[in-house]
Symmetry: C2
Subunit: 279 residues, 2 copies
């Protein structure tokens, strides 16, 4: 199915299908599916009848996937769709997307977004001091642990932009993105979703610290050796690796992936790769 | 909020809060929030009344985020929650998660999964032939374009496992994962979600091709030079870069990120990094 968000006209009006049956107005996708976006209130029993006649019509037409986009304010219509066999595909703040598969063979409905993306920022200055924070809430709260600034990359945000933003928000320090040094993939991180965490090196453009009040207990420039000597770092296999990678990078011996803006006919994007080895 | 999926007891029974008010049973999270999972049918007006008294009680207790997990079969209760100000956080096939924020200050509710993860597999044999396919559906259908096997990494699946699985499914060829050579991040790819696409090198362990009937029109081993000469590759900035990276890798001049299983106190994961430079 397509990612089209084209909106339909008033579904209350319905449309005349072949044979004079009233069906929901749809947008077709290039995978043999149809999507209807409900935009006006209607009586649940009227919706139910309209949905039944529509499904009959789409079945005759050989349609495959059927998508119903329900705005939050019309959630009262969801029950009728579930009774017809629809299930949930995904939801965002203001809508629920329901889906149904007409053919007898197994469905090829694309899966929902599966991963959250996070970053950890390695910011080291000319005195071999690293930018570290203590967090006010969460797992490390009140343990006196100094850690890299971390955060979540937003939907629609590039990893390098997200890193620069998080460092600025948490510490007030301006930075320039250098490289992705490594990434980690884990599962069942959050509501059963998977997680991709990118370790990024950034170059400081300013030194003055201005810690975020809401989330950060304290922030400082800490000598790199002092950071690595923390038991929290020493006793943590993943952090030991990350520390070794950052040390190698600080010494100029390590090459990560650098982002480059590249275009494809259909969309813009950033390609991250080992630019040194491609020279 | 926690990713806990602990289920509550029968919410119809409710619980006696201080002062004898009946409230929904909840599981508390470590961010000052509460989650209730509705597991039994109830009358929407009874649910509405219970939710109102619960919200009063949680407000007095200083609670912040309130989460309601509604199974698909009880979607008829969602309207009552929306009327109380709840919005949608996310949905999976069989449930809808609603959320509400009690404090006056802005919410710190964590975002929904934001990215889909895909792979493209560079599989080259000892004769400098690359494994390529033509797809039956989608963007490249019927254009005679030979491309790398590609696919979506499932929730809960490692990138390296997903690559090996997709190559096997599409072509029947067994492979061993070598490295992530590069990755691309794009936005608005699918229902507005972002997309991370990993270019992976795999070593063939078998040569016989057995193309997947449902999705693949044809599959073959194609001389690398012939692949790169396709206008489809030449006219596509992203593919030109990917091709240059794969050529460098095939010549032994390029180092990508190799996965290593590392543990953290709370979870297992794979760290992908430049292992050559860390030696």
């Amino acid at each position: 199915m397509s990612a089209s968000s084209s909106s339909c006209t008033n579904p209350m009006a319905g449309e005349e299908a072949k044979g004079g049956v009233t069906v929901l107005p749809v947008v077709e996708d290039k995978y043999g599916g149809v999507m209807t976006e409900i935009s006006h209130p209607m009586d649940p029993s009227a919706f139910s009848a309209l949905l039944q006649s529509s499904l009959s019509s789409w079945t005759l037409q050989g349609k495959k996937g059927v998508w119903i986009k329900l705005p939050r304010q019309l959630i009262g219509l969801a029950e009728a769709a579930v009774k017809e066999g629809f299930w949930f595909h995904h939801a965002e703040k203001d809508y629920l997307m329901l889906v149904y598969w007409i053919p007898i063979e197994g469905d090829t409905i694309p899966s929902n977004a599966s991963h959250r993306v996070g970053i950890g920022a390695f910011v080291i200055n000319h005195n071999k001091e690293v930018l570290v924070v203590q967090e006010k809430t969460g797992r490390f709260q009140g343990q006196g642990i100094w850690k890299f600034p971390t955060g979540v990359v937003n939907e629609g945000e590039y990893i390098h932009d997200g890193s620069v933003r998080e460092v600025k928000e948490e510490t007030g320090v301006d930075t320039e993105f250098v490289q992705v040094l490594a990434f980690r993939q884990t599962h069942k991180a959050f509501f059963g979703k998977s997680d991709l965490f990118f370790v990024c090196m950034l170059k400081p453009l300013s030194l003055e610290i201005n810690a975020q009040e809401t989330e950060i207990e304290a922030a400082q420039w800490m000598p790199w050796d002092e950071y690595t000597k923390q038991p929290f770092v020493q006793n943590h296999e993943l952090l030991r690796y990350m520390t070794a990678i950052c040390s190698a990078k600080a010494n100029g011996d390590y090459e990560g992936f650098t982002p480059l803006r590249v275009s494809a006919p259909d969309q813009q994007g950033n390609l991250y790769f080992n630019t040194r080895d491609l020279r």
